[in-house]
């Protein structure tokens, strides 16, 4: 029964014969899974799947890595998700710094970064807080815990981002958005409903083969009805109200700030920073860090890739000087980066 349903969904996608349709998968994990499962080869030629900016590593500006390197050079232990380790800063990456003696601790969770700090009282430990609404609550949990427990050797370097204003910035880049399931598990569906009222269509998608193919089936079928729509195709995880406790915690610990997105520039109110009450664990304030401006490689077209304006293979660096082994741009580093996914999975050859 269920296997049949997946085939039905796949047939709906494959047999789409309507007008050209641009679908943007906002979430990098969607990009990754779509490549891993070979889902692109199900799509008819007039459906263009665009890889959007929902990879925190990819949209994190070069200057953030430079800031982390500044901390490492000043003797601070960097605790980070594995994703960031190989991202190039202006001159080098955290992996390079580690090879030169810096302490870089890869963690699975911000909770582990705080535990590490507690176990290593003689080190200053800074957690690199990247990620969207899905990841922010975990960072806020440890921020709150560190402050209330008075853990003095722990801090956060934030580059967190939020989606609402990014959707607005991207609204002309696609006809239908595949909304990131886990972001909306936290924030709920109200924003998606509002966007539909404003003329922006989208489908909330899960991450298994069947969930993704079903979401695409909904997208192509609904697109033919010629009116803006929103469908929650991931009801297993996303409730309309989201996770209120997580939203409340985020609001308690962090406040909106204008944020630079690699490639998209500064989007007003699209970032988060620690509120004043948490100054003592804000690495920028705690270590009186200077303002650091990163310089990306001028030939790198990650920015246009992230906006769906060009394919990774259109970039002059792609596959030549920029490869997963020697990444130039962030999109080539992260396993879910569009350039990495294109390179690893053969870039549209299949």
């Amino acid at each position: 029964m269920s296997e049949n349903m997946r085939q039905t969904a796949a047939q709906i996608v494959q047999s789409y014969d309507g007008a050209p349709l641009r679908i943007m998968e906002v979430c990098g994990t969607h990009t990754h899974e779509i490549f891993r499962l070979g889902i692109r080869s199900l799509l008819p030629p007039q459906v263009d799947l665009i890889s959007g900016p929902g990879c925190p590593v990819c949209v994190t500006p070069v200057g953030f890595i430079d800031e982390a390197l500044w901390l490492a050079e000043h003797g601070v232990t960097i605790a980070t998700f594995g994703d960031l380790v190989r991202v190039p800063g202006t001159e080098r990456s955290l992996a390079d710094a580690r090879a030169a003696g810096a302490r870089v601790q890869v963690v699975y969770s911000p909770l582990d970064a705080l535990s590490y700090a507690k176990e290593h009282g003689d080190e200053q430990v800074t957690f690199l807080s990247v990620g969207f609404e899905t990841t922010v609550p975990a960072a806020c949990l440890v921020a709150d815990q560190a402050l209330s427990e008075g853990v003095e050797n722990f801090s956060l370097l934030t580059a967190n981002k939020t989606m609402p204003n990014a959707y607005a910035a991207l609204r002309n880049s696609a006809d239908v958005f595949l909304y990131p399931g886990h972001v909306h598990a936290i924030t709920g569906t109200a924003l998606c409903e509002d966007l539909a009222k404003q003329g922006v269509s989208g489908v909330l998608a899960g991450f298994t083969a069947k969930e993704l193919v079903t979401a695409l089936a909904v997208a192509v079928r609904k697109a033919q009805e010629d009116k803006p729509f929103f469908v929650n195709a991931y009801p297993r995880v996303v409730r309309p109200e989201g996770t209120p406790a997580a939203v409340a915690l985020m609001d308690k610990v962090m406040e909106p700030v204008d944020a630079e997105w690699r490639g998209l520039g500064v989007i007003p109110g699209s970032g988060l920073q620690l509120r004043d009450a948490y100054s003592s664990i804000d690495a920028r304030k705690k270590f009186e860090m200077p303002h650091i401006e990163g310089r990306p490689n001028p030939a790198c077209r990650c920015g246009e890739v992230l906006q769906g304006h060009c394919k990774p293979s259109d970039c002059p660096l792609f596959g030549k000087v920029c490869t997963p082994q020697h990444p130039v741009g962030a999109c080539m580093v992260s396993g879910e980066g569009a350039c990495s996914a294109y390179f690893q999975y053969g870039g549209g050859q299949l």
């Binding site: 029964m1 269920s2 349903m5 039905t8 969904a9 709906i12 906002v26 979430c27 990098g28 994990t29 969607h30 929902g54 990879c55 925190p56 998700f81 699975y108 969770s109 911000p110 909770l111 582990d112 990620g131 969207f132 899905t134 990841t135 609550p137 975990a138 949990l141 990131p180 399931g181 886990h182 972001v183 598990a185 936290i186 899960g206 991450f207 298994t208 069947k210 969930e211 079903t214 089936a217 909904v218 079928r221 609904k222 469908v231 929650n232 195709a233 009801p235 297993r236 995880v237 996303v238 409730r239 996770t243 406790a245 997580a246 915690l249 879910e336």
Partner: protein
Amino acid sequence: MCVGLSAKVVRIQDGMAMVDASGARREVSVQLMDDVEPGDYVMVHAGIAIAKITDEDEHETDEVLEALLA
């Protein structure tokens, strides 16, 4: 954007739950979930539970498709 893992809650103590995914276990925070109990399934990201879920995606996804075809 956010790798998620569905896992079964084995036990809970002080806002932390031991979860199990096919025999791989780790402690995650369930502080943001209300009414999670051992035996429930949760979606885990970066060491915290972000949603309470059912144990499989089959029937819920099927319902989405059935609604589309109706």
